[in-house]
Assembly symmetry: C2
Amino acid sequence: MASPTPAAHHPLSIDMSDLQQKQSTEQEFHLKNQSAKWVLNSPDPPGFGQHMFDMIKKNVCPQRNSIPSSASLSPKKQPLSSHVIALLTCVFPVLDWGRNYKASKFKKDLIAGLTLASLSIPQSIGYAALANLDPQYGLYGSVVPPLIYSVMGTSRELAIGPVAVVSLLISSMISKLVDPTVDPVSYRKLVFTTTFFAGCFQALFGLLRLGFLIDFLSHAAIVGFMAGAAIVIGLQQLKSLLGISHFTTKTDVLSVLEAVAKSFHTTWYPLNFVLGCSFLIFILITRFIGKRNTKLFWLPAISPVISVILSTLIVYLTRADEHGIKIIKHFKGGLNPSSVSQLEFNGPHLGETAKIGFVCAIIALTEAVAVGRSFASINGYNLDGNKEMLAMGCMNIAGSMSSCYVATGSFSRTAVNFSAGCQSTVSNIVMAITVFISLQLLTKLLYYTPLAILASIILSALPGLIDYNEAYHIWKVDKMDFLACAGAFFGVLFASVEIGLLVAVGVSFGRLILNSIRPGMEELGRLPGTDIFCDKAQYPGVLDVPGVFIIRLNSGSFCFANASPIKERITRWATKENEKEEGNKPTNGIILDMSSVMSIDSSGIIALEEIHKKLLLRNIHLAITNPRWKVIHKLKLAGFVDKVGTDCIFLTVNEAVDACLSSRSIDNCL
Amino acid sequence: MASPTPAAHHPLSIDMSDLQQKQSTEQEFHLKNQSAKWVLNSPDPPGFGQHMFDMIKKNVCPQRNSIPSSASLSPKKQPLSSHVIALLTCVFPVLDWGRNYKASKFKKDLIAGLTLASLSIPQSIGYAALANLDPQYGLYGSVVPPLIYSVMGTSRELAIGPVAVVSLLISSMISKLVDPTVDPVSYRKLVFTTTFFAGCFQALFGLLRLGFLIDFLSHAAIVGFMAGAAIVIGLQQLKSLLGISHFTTKTDVLSVLEAVAKSFHTTWYPLNFVLGCSFLIFILITRFIGKRNTKLFWLPAISPVISVILSTLIVYLTRADEHGIKIIKHFKGGLNPSSVSQLEFNGPHLGETAKIGFVCAIIALTEAVAVGRSFASINGYNLDGNKEMLAMGCMNIAGSMSSCYVATGSFSRTAVNFSAGCQSTVSNIVMAITVFISLQLLTKLLYYTPLAILASIILSALPGLIDYNEAYHIWKVDKMDFLACAGAFFGVLFASVEIGLLVAVGVSFGRLILNSIRPGMEELGRLPGTDIFCDKAQYPGVLDVPGVFIIRLNSGSFCFANASPIKERITRWATKENEKEEGNKPTNGIILDMSSVMSIDSSGIIALEEIHKKLLLRNIHLAITNPRWKVIHKLKLAGFVDKVGTDCIFLTVNEAVDACLSSRSIDNCL
């Protein structure tokens, strides 16, 4: 890598540099003194208090440019009412885009919304089953949250509703507190309370502009986590697909396989399996056709609803439920009932539900923002992460009060919404109304729907969550990243969902710490014919400067964790070098390039002082080049600059090399 | 700060740069292409496996140059026996320096050793009381460990024995497991087992070259911890000083003050206080005299032993013990008894003792290495941290089998040893023999020694542990560092010793993480008259390059934790800038200087790809300058370089600026 070495290099000087060097020595010394002055006389960086204040201000106060430009034209001169309108437009983007909404757009949104609903209804029922809830709760979640999102959200394509991974999280984490088969009422209360907390956390993240929190799950961790979750969800479907009555509430592979193995010895109904698999194959074939022929995009989207209708008819006509086919049975229709009274804030599990709410909030946001951003980037607009979080938070708070569990943007449905040609969040409104009408009219018809069909609909959505190519890509590019990915995957698979997440976050942060405390140093040499100084290992052609040892620190912090090994390596090198070259070509100077060091602490400053002292004993000059803003400020504050003298500080490596060489020639003369 | 911008800058070109620029365009393009080639064709960095192997090899295998040079002359040609000798010399440095040991040195060591012993005997008895052990255990600890250290250690000045902070750690942590007043035998067993574990950990650190572990306590944390511990130790002395019978086993300020307040209501003996304070004042006066007149260095060193003798005589003659003066009473003399049978490896507290052993090992090493290094640096030699750890480990393992508790190098006694003119570890041998003789002969005489005197001796050693100046210096230089310091101080004071340590380590590492994930960026400008590119904030005089926006990433990792805010800031800037300058001076390029970025992960690469894509939509060029070794390797692996094209990669900012400007002039012509 190139060093921070701007240099006296004229295009013609490549071949005549020796000649010119002598001529320009005087001018270079002038330049040297001047550049050291630049380094030493820079203004103080903002202090600790100022820095904290700026950070809080930046995070908490909404920025001007986050208000849509149409409403924020010279806001200073406007009266209060327009400020209110600007704020409202900021919170409810529908006020902005709604004015230009046209009938032609509505036509497209209507088609997209109807297509979406035909996929949403069976999926929502299936995800409710995955979350150990009655089927209507899935449908409720496809009514209220999409309506709220459509007036607050900024993504045009995102399709809102229950999703597989969050359903899995809810069922696996809340089942540990209350067994849903024993006490479904308490279980449901905890689910709504968790949803409320998740909504509060999401809204809070949005208001405090804490969007960076969802970045703490690295890309690799998400890939691993999603793949693990997909397999776990798939295994959970074995219950319905095999018609097993007694299943485990644990989610790890071993427990599930054990439960399946046990059920083979007791009772299972092969008819469920035959029915589920036939329709799974049907759905996969329609998807294959839809991919080959993009005009038939609606075929895979409506195949789940066709499967549901067909299979329900079959069961109803053949009375197969009397021969072991498990059916939905309980299905309460009607309007979303209020669930305000079911929120529990003084129960024994309050802390636990808040924790689960936090995890759900993060995972739900991660999925929604990832999906939203990728489609926004296809359509060439920007998604405001903080507004999205606020919208998600509000819709989940409202959802928790109207019998919904955590909803978010779904991978598979957003893709269908997009390919059906949606133009705005109106497609979500159309979908919500369609689902609402179905809840009023069609629930009685779903009595005979076999559970195996729901399982096959969920199974058909899972392959999209497993991204082999990306995992292979991560393996190829970065082994440590792959470790986080594999950790999340196997953690979810063999331990539990939370442990998988913890492993992923732990590996990611552990790596970050290791990277920043690594006592990394690299030797620099001169790139032939230039005054650029580069890492010897990266650029094998570079040349040594005789008598001068140039090292660049390679870690962002020079601090307690790496100061003492760095100090030891420099002094060890100096001792060795001094012994080796005694009399021959005595080493004259060590140049310490600090351009990569962003911060230094008191241990680092002490180490620098000791290096200086030890080198002084051996009569070796120490030069420090390009100290960054905070570093030079602290070195000045700590009195280091006064101790070593201002002639040890340089702006560039080249100037330091020149100074070392010229001081050697003076030494030799004496 | 200077940018990594080596540049076409000739001394004369400052004023005629415009003219020359046109002339040299062709040559610059040649240079540009060549430097991009350098960047792109560098060899691959060592892979993950190679890297791991190197790290383990470096840490585990002893290096050649750690064998003293006198024994390692061309070791390859030497027979096995000389290898054995070299290894022995490496483990027992006494074999090396012992050959040149002369009578003149011994004379000085004898005086130093005797002075040391006169301080060690009362201090050791006091520290044993602090550790809730009978007084002889303190003296045992001044016999065996110093003898072993004297043949294995590399420091000439370090005085080995029990120290205050470790005694406090032992008493505060083990008292939680077993109450020493209720069951002193079990308590002692746990102490020896802890000592054994501490020794094993220390030896292991030395063998595996894990010296960096003791660096995890930052300088600031140690300053805070030591000050807090000193106050806690001082408060513990109130028990003896006030003659209180029932005291608390807790160490935090509030519990101790509460216990003292309670005892005022019941029974306390003012005579103890008067006696203790008089001799404390005597010791402090002798220390003051010793400081003023360096020839009288021995006066503060022997004043404790004088105090002990005087006060014992006073008590014996006046029979003051019958009037409430607390005296030592139990004091078993004789040889160190074996304690092998008291090591408990199957008790219920095994895990806890191992943990306490680990904490003691770290703290003991921190103190010893800090003291040893500071005196080694005064005398101009290097201390081998790994050898020191091995020596400490062996002496503590041996100590745990001969009734000693954790010993280490002491601040106060090492200073006395140094000022008494010690020449080698022989002074430790002299001290150990003197203490051993006292154990044989003098213990009966110590029956009447008042406990208050021991308290005043400990109190007199405490001010050295509190370093106000350093704490103020840390506050001045670095507020976050001071937070770690204050955290350790108040943690020790108001919670417990472990919590203080945990807070300090937590703050230090939390700061490290925050530093490395901070989405830091800085705008660069050209330093007038040069081709050096610098931070605009640090160097306010720098000039903008019209139409080119140059930013440098400021964090060592471009990774999941900061990739997305950095991406957003760049794209937001690009949008704003494009709107603002429409038609006027369209921004032509963004130059992303990556010279500070040491590592990139898959999230970072994805962010770079998205930045490139978004800028492309707005017709803005993206140039990446000076990617480091691992970064360019990963960018190549991930296919990023193929996507953006090799003409977007530059070695220096200056080349990238030239390329941007020339491409704009081409754009303008078209």
